[in-house]
């Protein structure tokens, strides 16, 4: 499905923020994610569902993605 990551259209097979983090190989620390405007803490990534057209904001250190 298509989502926007930091305003950039992106194709993903991830169905949750947790899967997205895994697919993007996001590091264990130093990552903040928001779904739409809602900040989601790491402990809730796995249970936060992604839907077509969702907008995700990821603030993270320089490496990857």
């Amino acid at each position: 499905m298509k989502i926007n990551i930091n305003n950039k259209p992106t194709d993903t097979t991830a169905t949750t923020l947790g899967e997205l983090a895994q697919q993007m190989a996001l590091p264990e620390k130093g990552v903040a994610m928001a779904l739409g405007t809602k900040m989601v803490q790491r402990a809730q990534w796995a249970e936060t569902a992604l839907n077509e057209g969702d907008s995700v904001i990821i603030i993270k250190a320089a490496c990857g993605g």
């Binding site: 305003n7 950039k8 130093g30 405007t37 809602k38 904001i57 993270k60 320089a62």
Partner: protein, 205 residues
Amino acid sequence: MLQFISHYTERYSYLDSIRMALDGGCRWVQLRMKDAADDEVRRVAEEAQRWCRDAGATFIVDDRVELVRQIGADGVHLGKNDMPVSEARALLGDGFIIGGTANTFDDIRSHYEAGANYIGCGPFRFTTTKKGLAPVLGLEGYTYLIKRAREEGINLPIVAIGGITADDIPAIMSTGVSGVALSGTVLRAENPVEEMKKLIKITEK
């Protein structure tokens, strides 16, 4: 996304302000102690970092690159008169978030090119929290800067800052910014914890 920037008042210390922000549900804290001595900043930073870890919040320290490296904070925020982003990136490597303050599109572009991970963009309006600020941006300023950044392929999250109050947040969020950074408006409230809850609700609406 709501970022809290620590501050102190006659009623509250830096740590009080951070404790209240976390208790109110904030999950991004920036410790900003511009004029404090290094050892005091370290003491406060270590405590604040423990609290942020426990709460699952991102912990950023303003200006103090070396301290961030030593204590393993999540990242550093660099103001206009602080170390350049490129220099901080060289010192910290790729494992830390670096944010930079921007007042103009040229600032945004140069932070982007230097390897910043997010932009604190402002001031939205005149504020007494910070001294010696650049001209205010207002809503038009954010609309323009966001559009310009997208046109130039700069996808960094841009967070609005500077004198923002609850009433401003819906209009600011609708300009396309990724979030807002708040400080004074939280601590001026009668009950800062409840105020933070309210502000988060408004921001995430």
